[in-house]
Structures are given as structure tokens and as C-alpha cells.
């Protein structure tokens, strides 16, 4: 029972935070600087790690499937479709959001939590500046702008990870050309679009949840660490949970 209440409270608080932030959307044109700053921050902290992760995920995917299919004639012709679709429908967006939680979400929570603990948030309130307006909204907007780019980047890098394996591993008999042709044949515009919808949705949720955990930190500096853990863990759980249902809807 307690857990159910906790979940309801968690969802409610996040929805309220989201709506309260959206209320200030009219001030966005004055906050371009903050949005750009946050967008750059998200970009340069996640790009390197996303590249590494995606290239290896794509490669391992090709390696595993190629190995399993090595004795079935013609099966390896579908490696392009396997890597292509898995990357763009599932792995690209979800990986990007996980890394967003780990690299960006954690630092958002840490920053906002320390602002809360050291009364900076109180100071904003006494200045009649709603924290949602300058702390949450720019981060949400920056995430919304950057997530599609990060995801496309992740997808494409993953595809190239696959092609490297296809070309250089002995037991995979197809060549790069077959891989790309097959990939192009199966990956439709819709598959990419579905992936981007997921990335956008989960990305915004990660940022929202992490902002919320930060702003609701109470107590001393020790709570900052706890808030970060809570923010990252709850974002990841929410991603995994929603991913199933969103996938079902988008199928």
C-alpha cells in the first residue's frame, strides 16, 4: 500500500513539476542562453560515451547474430535488417536515454540538490523567480532539442559498428554491400520515427525526474548523494517500464 502511494506521489509530483515549468514557456525567448548552454552540456558530455557504446552494441549484435546464423544458408543476408532495426527501434534511443540519465541526469540532480541544500533555491523563491522557470524549463527544452540528434547519431554509429564486423569477421560471409542493401530494404522512415519518439519521450522524462529529485532534496549535503542515486535509478526504471508499453503502442 505504501509503495502504491509512493508511486502515485512520484508520478503526481513529476506531472506537476512539468506543468509548472510549461507555465513559463512564455519566458523562453529570454532564456535562449540557458537553453543553448544546457544543450551543449548534454551534447558534449554524452556524445563520446554514446559513440563508444553504440559502435560496440552494433558490432556485438552483428557478431552474435552472424555466429548463430553461420550454418543456415542465406540467413546472414538479414544481418542488415537485424542490426538496422534493433538499433533504430530500440537500442539507439534506449541507450541514449540511459546514458543521458547516467551522465546528464546525475549532474542535474547533483546541481539542483546542492542549490536546494545551500538555500540557493530559497533565495530564488524570495526573489520571486520560480525555480521551475530558470532551472527546469531550459533543461527540458535543451533535452528535447538534443535528444533526436543524439539518437540519430547513436543509430548511425551502431550501423557502422555492424558493418565493421560484417567485413572483418571470417564466419560472416556477406559483404558490406549486402548488409547495407538489406538494411535499407527493412529500415523504413517509420522505424526511425518510432525510435525518435521514444528517445524524445524518455529523454524529457529523465530530465524531469532528475530535476524533481534535485529540487526536492531536504537536509544536509549528505542528501545530495542520495538524491543523485534516486534520480538516476528512478529514471532508468521508468525508461524500462515505459519502453515496453510504448513499444507495444508503436508496433
Amino acid at each position: 500500500m505504501k509503495q502504491v502511494l509512493y508511486i502515485i506521489e512520484f508520478v503526481g509530483n513529476n506531472v506537476f513539476l512539468f506543468l509548472r515549468s510549461l507555465l513559463h514557456i512564455g519566458t523562453l525567448h529570454r532564456q535562449c542562453g540557458r537553453v543553448v548552454e544546457q544543450a551543449f552540456f548534454i551534447g558534449y558530455t554524452t556524445l563520446p560515451i554514446i559513440s563508444i557504446l553504440s559502435i560496440f552494441i552494433g558490432a556485438v549484435l552483428a557478431l552474435q547474430s552472424g555466429f548463430t546464423m553461420r550454418n543456415t544458408p542465406g540467413a546472414q543476408n538479414f544481418l542488415g535488417a537485424i542490426v538496422g532495426l534493433s538499433m533504430c527501434r530500440e537500442l539507439g534511443p534506449v541507450m541514449a536515454c540511459f546514458l543521458l540519465a547516467g551522465r546528464v541526469g546525475s549532474s542535474i540532480t547533483a546541481e539542483l540538490a546542492s542549490m536546494k541544500v545551500y538555500n540557493e533555491v530559497d533565495a530564488l523563491v524570495t526573489m520571486n523567480i520560480p525555480p521551475e522557470r530558470i532551472l527546469v524549463l531550459p533543461r527540458l527544452v535543451a533535452t528535447a532539442l538534443v535528444m533526436p540528434l543524439l539518437t540519430i547519431f547513436s543509430i548511425v554509429i551502431g550501423w557502422y559498428g555492424g558493418v565493421i564486423v560484417v567485413e572483418h569477421v571470417d564466419f560472416i560471409t556477406i559483404d558490406a554491400n549486402t548488409y547495407w542493401t538489406n538494411l535499407k530494404q527493412f529500415v523504413r522512415y517509420d522505424s526511425v520515427k518510432d525510435g525518435l519518439i521514444k528517445a524524445e519521450l524518455f529523454g524529457i522524462l529523465v530530465t524531469l525526474i532528475c530535476c524533481h529529485e534535485g529540487l526536492h532534496t531536504e537536509g544536509g549535503p549528505r542528501e545530495i548523494g542520495r538524491a543523485v542515486t534516486r534520480g538516476v535509478v528512478s529514471s532508468m526504471i521508468v525508461i524500462l517500464f515505459l519502453d515496453y508499453f510504448v513499444t507495444k503502442v508503436l508496433l
Partner: protein, 260 residues
């Protein structure tokens, strides 16, 4: 400072039977007093007496469990009051925005409220910084400032709001005696120059007795005594005398080893 500060008048604050509990622990018990417009009112008391909680209740960050606080006859617990009346608070640890330079810390309020154009804003910030001898620090970040500078930047940031009511939480704690005296003088002069009501919380007896027009002594969540400094100093209440002139008696210490 500007035309608006002369238009704006200082406000009176009235605290009526305020109590505040956290859980089952009541930290403020039925506190009532009035602060007149333009007055410098000092709340003194040992740490843990509930002074910060009282200040935060006045600024609206904490809701009293019982009783009401009025600023210029408006309820201090509702956010609208703090939009109607400009109130500001200098937090104990400064609460400067760590990611912003001193200049941006001061400029945040006017920028967010679209108060001045760029040049006027720059002039205003520099004027306030000069008044507090902080010109050197304009491009520094809070982490690069000394304790005394941080306190002054925090006061400067509040002044940028041209407040009608200014609350200070322990403005001289953790400062050396000279810097403490400087800040005390500053609070007194600001009060005259800017026509603002000031409520200063402090356990610094010298500050209280020198700048307070009236001084309240708060002990354990209650107002133990409230009077003008000269009368407070000669009160025969043992609690007051003990706070004003604590005896350091090494032969009979308050805590003994066997107490632990």
C-alpha cells in the same frame, strides 16, 4: 538610490501568536511582536532558539503552524504578498548562486523582472558594488570570495531588489571582529539611506546593542525580553543578564565530564 526606492515606503511587520512545529517538536511558541516601518529590529538569542525559522516564516518560506504574520497588513504566508511588497532576505551562508559571477548574481533579479535596460543595469550593479567596496570582485565567482566578501555580496544582491523589508540571518557570524563591525555599520547606514525596515537575527551582542533600535531576546522559541538596547542592558532578568554577560567559569564549567 532610484526614484522607485523613494516612492516605495518601508513597511511594518506584525507577528501575531505565531507557533511553528516540525513534527512533534515545537520550535516557536506563541511569539508576538510588531516591527515599525523603517525600524532596525534585532532578534538576539542562543543558537537553536528558532530565530532562523522565524525569519523564514516572515519571508514566506516556512508556514507557521499557528498564528499569522502580516507585512503591511498583508498575510506573509501567501506568495502574492511578496510580489506586492518587495521583501528580501540575506541568508546565513549567503546563498549566492555558485554558478554565476558576482555581477550576474546581482543582475539576476532585475534581469528576470525586466527592470532596467542593459546600461542602466550595469550602472546599478556597479553603484551597489561600490557602496559595499566590492568593485574588485565583480567578475569573481562566489567560491573565490572570502567569508566577509560573500556576506557583502549577499547584502548587495538584496539591495538590488530595493526591498521594503530586509531580513538578515546572522550577518556577522563567522566574521572577524573588524569585518563584523563593518557589516554592522553597513546595516545601520543602509537602513537610513534606503528607507527600509530591517529585521536582523544575530547572536552578536555588540551588533544588537549598537544598531538595534529595539532588541528582542529569543530563548527556546519564546521572546524572553523586548526593549530598547539601553533598557535591555539594565534588565534584572537573570536569563537576559546571563545571555548578555555570560560568565566563563573554568572552576565550575557548565558541562562536566561525568555529564556525558
Amino acid at each position: 538610490m532610484s526614484k522607485s526606492s523613494t516612492e516605495r515606503k518601508a513597511v511594518e511587520v506584525s507577528i501575531e501568536h505565531v507557533s511553528k512545529s516540525f513534527g512533534t517538536q515545537e520550535v516557536i511558541h506563541d511569539v508576538s511582536f510588531q516591527v515599525c516601518a523603517g525600524e532596525t529590529f534585532v532578534i538576539m538569542g542562543p543558537s537553536g532558539a528558532g530565530k532562523s525559522v522565524l525569519l523564514k516564516s516572515i519571508i514566506g518560506l516556512i508556514q507557521p503552524t499557528q498564528g499569522k504574520i502580516f507585512i503591511d497588513h498583508l498575510n506573509a504566508s501567501v506568495p502574492e504578498t511578496h510580489r506586492e511588497v518587495v521583501t528580501s532576505m540575506v541568508f546565513q551562508a549567503g546563498a549566492l548562486f555558485n554558478s554565476l559571477s558576482v555581477f550576474d548574481n546581482l543582475a539576476l533579479y532585475p534581469r528576470e523582472h525586466l527592470l532596467y535596460d542593459k546600461d542602466t543595469l550595469e550602472d546599478k550593479v556597479m553603484t551597489v558594488l561600490k557602496a559595499l567596496s566590492l568593485e574588485q570582485a565583480v567578475n569573481k565567482f562566489p567560491s573565490e570570495l572570502s567569508g566577509g566578501m560573500r556576506k557583502r555580496v549577499s547584502i548587495a544582491r538584496s539591495l538590488m531588489m530595493e526591498p521594503q523589508l530586509l531580513l538578515y540571518d546572522e550577518p556577522t557570524s563567522e566574521l572577524d571582529p573588524i569585518m563584523a563591525a563593518t557589516i554592522s555599520e553597513l546595516i545601520a547606514t543602509l537602513n537610513e539611506e534606503f528607507n527600509v525596515t530591517s529585521i536582523v537575527v544575530s547572536h552578536d551582542r555588540e551588533l544588537a546593542m549598537s544598531i538595534g533600535q529595539r532588541v528582542a531576546l529569543m530563548v527556546d522559541g519564546r521572546i524572553q525580553a523586548l526593549d530598547i538596547p539601553s533598557k535591555l542592558a539594565t534588565m534584572d532578568d537573570p536569563v537576559v543578564q546571563n545571555f548578555l554577560h555570560p560568565v566563563i567559569d573554568v572552576q565550575n564549567p557548565r558541562f562536566r565530564k561525568q555529564d556525558f
